[in-house]
Symmetry: C2
């Protein structure tokens, strides 16, 4: 194909190289079109395992891969670093800044657009909590949590008073969804694994407190499974406190109403809010800023613009919105790509129907819960954990050769030792 022919091809732009965006890009790999993937980082991140980076179990590169490398065999696809500022759906233009600020702002025109730029943390009405209680979205977040987590033991080891020591050995996690539960469980395991490394503290005195505003943990799971997970957490010596909304965060304390918990480390795994890009689409949004999409995942009035993943509010047949999980994003990515291809080829579009293969959450070594086939199969314990492990390793091996992760896990499983216990200055700590 010569350049003139190429320039006549439709331009498909995908914003975001997460699960949804990446799957859409892959699906579009053989289409006669010019596909561009924009992301503010250069890597796709396997976010379900990010908590393992935050707890010094895996290295960032174990769970991330350069987006352009993943898509290197698609001749029709290019990848560019871009921080999307605004979308002009009438002019059909994406307005971008260079995340590294090495280049001036630029515009990317499109014929078809897939918006998959996800959510960010919501600190509700308390943006000032962000510095005190970092959340877990990007690699930089995970490294900052890792730094604070490991540093806390260093400080506990040389604390001047027992009170001070206890505050350093107390970790509070806000929000008991899958990320919060996983973080809490692993933190106790890691603390236990470090018991011989310190001379002046016993790391088994570590307290991990999991605060949940709702009446129970893991609301996306059936009650009996969540109860099982709660028992598992308690067994790992995680202090699970439901109906406990955080009302105040200070550098050395968290408050639940009038009750003060002394701690030097608070981590945020609570609310999410849509990327502000959604506002510029000019269509109805939910309270948290998600875009209410049509059944074919396009937006009202602009059939060439699709929104997928955590940013989309897509109603299922049962009238409930599809949840904000990886498998929804991936299925939506496939449907959006397929509908673009259908439109180019003048075929009818199809609707998005979420097929839930099952939900998994892990609590710690050998502990997990699985809710499969719409709740027909509910399992906990070691079986669910091996299922969790198998699915995650399969995914990681699929998107890059990550045998080393398997080894790290095998090693950690048999020895209780973890591999990435580095305290390094991070981008977040440096700007503090």
């Amino acid at each position: 194909m010569d350049q003139e022919e190429t320039e006549k091809l439709p331009r498909i732009v995908i914003i975001g190289g997460g699960f949804g965006g990446l799957l859409a890009a892959k699906k579009l790999g053989r289409v006669k079109a010019r596909v561009t993937v924009l992301d503010k980082t250069n890597h796709h991140l396997f976010q379900p395992l990010l908590y393992q980076v935050a707890t010094a179990s895996l290295a960032p590169s174990d769970i991330a891969a350069a987006i352009r490398h993943v898509l290197r065999n698609q001749a029709n696809t290019s990848v560019e670093l871009a921080e999307v500022r605004e979308i002009d759906v009438n002019a059909r233009i994406v307005k971008c800044a260079d995340p590294s600020r090495l280049k001036q702002d630029f515009e990317v025109p499109y014929d078809y657009l897939i918006v998959a730029c996800g959510t960010r943390h919501s600190y509700f009405a308390h943006p000032e909590w962000e510095k005190l209680a970092p959340g877990l979205k990007a690699v930089e977040d995970a490294l900052e949590i890792r730094r604070r987590f490991l540093l806390a033991f260093e400080e506990a080891d040389r604390a001047a008073t027992p009170d001070e020591r206890d505050a350093w050995l107390t970790f509070v996690i806000v929000g008991a969804g899958p990320t919060g539960c996983e973080l809490a469980g692993v933190m106790q395991e890691i603390a236990h694994g470090m018991r011989r490394d310190f001379r002046h503290v016993d790391t088994r005195d570590t307290a991990v407190i999991l605060l949940e505003a709702g009446s129970r943990i893991l609301p996306a799971f059936p009650e009996p499974l969540a109860a099982r997970a709660s028992r598992d957490l308690t067994e790992l010596r995680v202090d699970v406190r439901t109906s406990s909304a955080v009302t105040r965060i200070e550098p050395d304390a968290v408050y639940v109403g009038d009750h003060k918990i002394r701690t030097r480390s608070v981590f945020w795994a609570a609310g999410n809010v849509a990327s502000p890009v959604s506002k510029s689409l000019g269509v109805p949004l939910t309270r948290t800023g998600q875009v209410i999409v049509e059944r074919d995942l396009s937006i009202p009035g602009h059939p060439n613009v699709f929104v997928i993943g955590d940013l989309a509010h897509a109603l299922q047949k049962n009238g409930q919105p599809a949840p904000g999980v990886a498998q929804v994003a991936m299925q939506e990515g496939r449907v959006a790509a397929r509908n673009i291809i259908a439109t180019i080829e003048r075929r009818p579009r199809s609707d998005f129907n979420y097929f839930n293969k099952g939900d998994l959450a892990t609590i710690g070594r050998g502990k997990a819960i699985a809710n499969l086939f719409g709740g027909k199969i509910q399992v906990g314990g070691r079986l669910a954990w091996f299922l969790w492990l198998g699915i995650h390793i399969t995914y990681l091996i699929g998107f890059r050769n990550r045998l080393s992760v398997l080894l790290q896990w095998a090693y950690a499983y048999f020895t209780y030792q973890r591999g990435a216990r580095l305290i390094t200055e991070t981008a977040r700590s440096a700007v503090k």
Copy 2:
């Protein structure tokens, strides 16, 4: 032993958990003494492989391990984060700051002291070059070089003009010691490995220029071996320029006299200067701030203070100072520890005599040089490379189970793909 008895034991303080300090600590593991290791980071770093982190081949945690974890089985040893400000040899006190600034400045008293806090980069009379041309000492440095290196290809891919693109594809490394040569070789290999990932540039157009002020590369090696390495580098398309002292660095250019080289990426592998701590010892120093030590590695007038590693200027029998390499530091660490034990046990001390097992430098895949047994055996090529590989893997496996590194290397060797190609915001980039 009860607390009272413990408090009568001599206090041995080691500053620095590098090769010298760590070996000394290990040697002192069974001594009846209170041993304290102070370091400004929590990890021992296998610095000879740091260039592989800088070039996205290994993750930081592949080549680093928590110092307290390495020493966990030594009940007499504790480890503490400390940035050493000053040593008062008369009061026998080390004055420290907390690197994370969470704790106030503090003092650590000692009966015996081993100073092993190494060197830092010297930009000669140009401290302003540091921001433009980062060097390679700590994990944070490596991550910043990795960020700049990978970002350069992103920018080249979307450069507006061929001139701009070429500046992004040109990498200049200043200093042709082992680190400079290794960086240069690997950078070309990585560039080659990414050739299918970019749509608008051919990464095989990458230029790597190695600038050396001296008349030849690798001055620590015999001339024929250095010539071999130089040929290897040229074969990898590294532009080796000797007798080329840098006279000016700008954001988009490097000057060698009047000759201007357009580049957006300059990396520093040239001079070193002693840690400023050496000044506070009040003893004669060399021009670069190294401490001139006695034959037993103690300092003049203070037989209870030892200086080892890159910070020490220790004369060999032939009148030459021992070079600043890992094996010297490790041997000195052993001697200093042994001399402390001898003094405690009222036995005579022994002198330091460097036994040079051999020097190795690698240039790239299958390419290295080895100078063994005082030059009796000199080899290059694949044999030397396997020797290099074997020694480095042995060391890594010795200090922690790092099988994953072996796998990464095997994978990279057979596929030319690298595993850690993440651009992340770093502590260095954030404070820019």
